[in-house]
């Protein structure tokens, strides 16, 4: 009786361990080998080459251990090849960040008036946005110098970028891009800042290859959409 019970408990523990391991990695899928990864990223670049522009709504959740509740922001993202990006937040405040041919402008909307900031963080933001644009085109070549890259294939494909530099890892543990398998569309970004702090950005209502007005990316007088 005792031995039967002991064996049952042992089986239960092993089964639980398997389930935990599968849950941890089963969600993320199987990690691809370097050759498979290269093939995956090449396929991604090819598929995304047909996308000339897109617009998508996003919802950003900021989870910090010091904050009682996460901060939720909503906005719109616009992108046009080869090098235009607009990141606009309309809730709970209004702000527009535009990257256009290596130039960066930032705006706020105050009492309904668009005001261009004399933005002091242009250089840093330029590098960040250039990186984001590369990823949106499925190009991770430049990122290989800064990040170790792993691709997990499963129900949702995941590209995991981990900073190589220890100094960078003090502020950023990893970035995960969640990609739809058939279309290679970016569905979600997960920025892990520490073991507990993270930012989750979910994209929805994505529309591609539209007639986007030029003024969406204007560096001085952009059109205010929302």
């Amino acid at each position: 009786m005792y031995i039967k019970l002991k064996n049952n408990i042992k089986s239960f523990l092993i089964a639980s361990l398997i389930l935990i391991v599968r849950f941890e990695f089963g969600f993320a899928g199987n990690v691809l080998s370097p050759q498979e990864q290269q093939q995956f990223l090449h396929e991604m670049t090819t598929q995304l080459a047909d996308v000339k522009n897109f617009q998508a709504e996003f919802e950003q959740e900021r989870h910090l251990s010091i904050m009682v509740e996460p901060l939720i922001s909503k906005g719109m993202c616009y992108f046009e090849v080869p090098d235009k990006l607009r990141w606009e937040i309309y809730s709970p405040y209004s702000s527009i960040l535009i990257y256009n041919k290596e130039k960066v402008s930032k705006f706020e909307i105050d009492n309904g008036q668009l005001k261009k900031l004399n933005f002091g963080a242009v250089d840093i933001m330029r590098k960040v946005l250039q990186q984001i644009i590369s990823w949106m085109r499925g190009n991770f070549t430049d990122s290989e110098a800064i990040y170790s890259i792993k691709v997990f294939q499963g129900a949702i494909n995941k590209i995991q970028l981990t900073p190589k530099s220890e100094v960078m890892r003090e502020n950023l543990k990893s970035i995960e891009l969640h990609i739809k398998p058939e279309t290679f569309q970016l569905e979600q970004v997960l920025i892990k800042e520490s073991a507990v702090d993270f930012i989750r950005i979910k994209f929805k209502n994505k529309q591609e290859n539209l007639n986007l007005p030029e003024k969406i990316f204007h560096l001085n007088h952009p059109v205010v959409v929302k």
Partner: protein, 223 residues
């Protein structure tokens, strides 16, 4: 003669009680109750322990930097203030306890003096008001209540209220104007029920920067 002297003295003290200090505009004699009411509201507009989420625009040396601020304030002016980048990252993390200030993170490598003297002082000035034992003088002028609070050493604070809301303040230390603030866009706090400024414009005259602080959220937290 005696009655005359007493009358003169009485008149003198009556005039003194209605007269404002040099830095306040001359105005009508103000009802003490109105002053006390406004000061009480100012002392109680924030709960004893709370967390604010704010959108902040810092203007310094001709440049502007925007970020999200998270301020957790507890009793006895114990607080933790964090400045977050809109797209990620923590630029600044400061902890203030009764007698000590710790800079937990300073990714922007901001110089220490403006941080410790400037930012910490700004936070205590804006979010931790207490009348304490300061001397008080007040006057009513153009529908605005002007209140002057002075401690026995070197600090004077001037508060200007309009329709029971604080609209402006100044802090003078050792005869120098250190801080000026304007308060606007009042909203009713879901936590205290008191009106809270939705926007604060703070000029730090000593360290020469301006903060535009827009309130996004306030949460009461356990003490």
């Amino acid at each position: 003669m005696k009655i005359r002297i007493i009358s003169i003295l009485f008149f003198y003290f009556f005039v003194i009680s209605c007269t404002v200090k040099l830095s306040l505009p001359k105005g009508e004699k103000v009802c003490a109750g109105l002053t006390q009411k406004n000061l009480w509201q100012l002392e109680n507009q924030y709960p004893k322990s709370f967390q604010l989420t704010q959108r902040i625009l810092l203007s310094v040396s001709g440049k502007e930097y925007d970020f999200i601020g998270s301020l957790t304030m507890r009793q006895d002016s114990v607080f933790r203030a964090v400045a977050l980048g809109e797209m990620g990252g923590t630029f600044l993390d400061i902890k203030h306890e009764t007698d000590t200030v710790s800079i937990l993170k300073n990714s922007g490598n901001l110089p220490e003096n403006p941080l410790l003297d400037g930012v910490v002082g700004d936070i205590l000035y804006l979010f931790s008001f207490s009348r304490g034992n300061k001397k008080l003088a007040s006057s009513f002028h153009n529908e605005q209540l002007h209140v002057q609070l002075s401690d026995s050493i070197n600090e004077t604070t001037i508060l200007i209220f309009e329709k029971n809301n604080l609209i402006a303040s100044e802090q003078i230390i050792d005869g120098q104007l250190v801080r000026k603030a304007q308060y606007s866009n009042y909203i009713k706090s879901v936590v205290s029920g008191c009106p809270l400024p939705g926007r604060i414009l703070l000029e730090n005259k000593k360290w020469r920067y301006t903060l535009k602080i827009d309130l996004l959220k306030i949460i009461q937290i356990p003490e």
